[in-house]
């Protein structure tokens, strides 16, 4: 399995192989269609701005200090949400996965609550934590708690039992069992949970920012929209999109390090 993974990865690294060409083709096609629609005049002014005006807006955005401030605010909110929600999710997952009793009692709740859109709790978060970043962190943390907890609980049950017996036979203390056996044995489900958690924390935080706030990327996007600065809105969406992909790839890379080695 590992070997085929390496092979395909190598094949993808060749500059002009079919896969890369298909990838480039779809991006190019999207850009061409976009530009054609923009020039067609079928849409109301600026609904589909020209590529050039978007490029200019991206440039303006990236050379502007205020954008980075908002980006920082949002990133910090998401980071805090991941830390809090992911940390609690990890602990909850270990408890649920480790005890059949607890999992029977609570895990169904998690399954039902997990996919429920957490934005419905935003009014509650505002009441508890105010309109500032705290309520966004709370919503993001709530969002990412569930996938991390469920993923870790499942991972905990999939640990090769013999590895636990090895630890016990060497008389590892409970703390050593967790740090040296349970956590590394669950590295793939944990990374996977964090990846899913990052996605929903991003959604939760941005959505909350668009609803009620005075800073952050979500706020700026909705602001650009309501002042009809559509190129700028698209510019922010593009930058955000690229960043989200980059972070996802980074998380995957971190978890993938050991994956090649069985």
């Amino acid at each position: 399995m590992a070997a085929t993974g390496q092979l395909t990865r190598k094949a993808a690294g060749v500059p002009f192989d079919p896969v890369t060409m298909l990838r480039v083709a779809i991006v190019a096609a999207t850009l061409i269609v976009w530009e054609a629609l923009s020039r067609s005049g079928w849409f109301y002014r600026d609904v589909i701005p020209s590529l050039w005006s978007i490029a200019k807006a991206v440039y303006a955005l990236l050379t502007q200090g205020t954008f980075y401030f908002d980006l920082g605010v949002t990133a910090a909110e998401i980071g805090a949400a991941l830390l809090i929600g992911g940390g609690l999710g990890l602990v909850a997952g270990i408890l649920l996965g480790g005890s059949r009793f607890l999992s029977q009692a609570y895990e169904t709740y998690l399954y039902y609550l997990g996919p429920t859109p957490k934005i419905i709790f935003f009014p509650v978060m505002i009441m508890w934590f105010g309109v500032g970043p705290e309520s966004k962190v709370a919503l993001g943390a709530l969002s990412c708690f569930f996938p991390v907890a469920l993923s870790v609980a499942a991972g905990m049950r999939q640990i090769d039992k013999v590895l636990i017996r090895v630890g016990r036979s060497f008389r590892a203390r409970p703390w050593q069992m967790i740090v040296k056996i349970y956590l590394p044995a669950m590295r793939h489900p944990i990374v996977n949970g964090i990846r899913l958690g990052f996605g929903v924390a991003l959604i939760g935080t941005l959505l909350a920012e668009t609803k009620l706030s005075n800073m952050g990327i979500g706020f700026r996007i909705i602001n650009a929209y309501s002042t009809f600065d559509i190129p700028r809105m698209y510019a922010m969406l593009i930058v955000l999109f690229v960043l989200a992909i980059a972070v996802n790839a980074l998380i995957g890379r971190l978890g993938g390090l050991g994956a090649v080695k069985r």
Binding site: V162, L163, V166, P184, R187
Partner: protein, 273 residues
């Protein structure tokens, strides 16, 4: 003769199954002397792994006492090192970090534990593979890593549960040689669980034959073959004689096991139709 280092006294283990409690191990008593190599042999399902887990302190028993150097055990004992039947290396650790694992648990500083780990890696013939991951090794090499890891904890008693069962014949023979060599070099007290007669006769001072369900001690056979031994001994007359002797004891039990399995298969087939 020296006092036994390990005493298994009247152990009973029963499991709750859907058909009620069944006795897997029934009043098993034996002992192991310091420096001795004892094999436990018996047909599949006779309770060998159960005995192994009880001695290792990983499974509680309903009756009897296991004691090490006169002290009754209560959970995993520091003088006992276990090598498991299943693949048990940590896939996220390199060979050296796998072998250093027990030393790491004891808080040995990195440099020292690596040095000692290297020593045991060389002993099982894996020098040069220190920085590989288990996924990059063959099954036989991984089993050697497990063995080195257990040896690194320097147990007074080495317990092994069919460590070579999953390997091909040639690898098994060569690994058997390695174990013999290590055992003779360290004067390691060893308890080997196996269902391979040749392996048992080749390595052991004594062989304990277990009965099939419930698992009892059928007989203990003393093997008076000269040491040091290697796999060459397989061709000697005395060797063949011992193999025949153990097989005559084991045959009855093994065929009872087969009949049982057939009856079971027929029974379930009958239910299904």
């Amino acid at each position: 003769m020296a006092d036994p280092i390990l005493v298994v006294d009247d152990i009973v283990v029963s499991f709750d199954t859907t058909e009620g409690p069944i006795a897997a191990v029934d009043h098993v008593t034996f002992d192991v002397r310091p420096g001795e190599f004892l094999s436990v042999i018996g047909p599949s399902g006779c309770g060998k792994s159960t005995v192994f887990n009880v001695i290792g302190g990983l499974l509680s028993h309903s009756h009897g006492i296991v004691s090490v150097s006169g002290e009754a055990i209560n959970g995993p004992h520091k003088s006992i090192g276990m090598v498991f039947q299943e693949e048990s290396t940590f896939p996220w650790r390199t060979v050296i970090d796998n072998v250093a694992f027990p030393l790491e648990l004891n808080g040995l500083p990195r440099r020292e534990r690596n040095e000692r780990a290297k020593h045991f890696i060389a002993m099982v013939g894996l020098a040069g593979f220190e920085n590989r991951y288990p996924g990059e090794l063959s099954g036989g090499m991984r089993q050697r890593v497990s063995l080195a890891r257990t040896l690194a904890s320097e147990p007074k008693i080495l317990l092994m549960d069919e460590p070579f069962a999953a390997l091909d014949e040639q690898t098994r023979l060569l690994l058997g040689d390695k174990v013999l060599q290590i055992q003779q070099q360290l004067h390691q007290t060893t308890l080997l669980i196996t269902h391979n007669i040749t392996e048992a006769v080749q390595m052991s001072d004594r062989i304990l034959v277990m009965t099939y369900r419930p698992g009892r001690v059928k007989r203990i056979v003393e093997i008076h073959l000269p040491r040091p031994r290697s796999s060459d001994i397989v061709s000697s007359d005395a060797f063949g004689h011992y193999v025949a002797e153990v097989w005559s004891d084991l045959r009855e039990e093994a065929s009872r096991g087969m009949e049982d399995a057939e009856r079971h298969a027929l029974g379930t087939a009958g239910e299904a139709s």
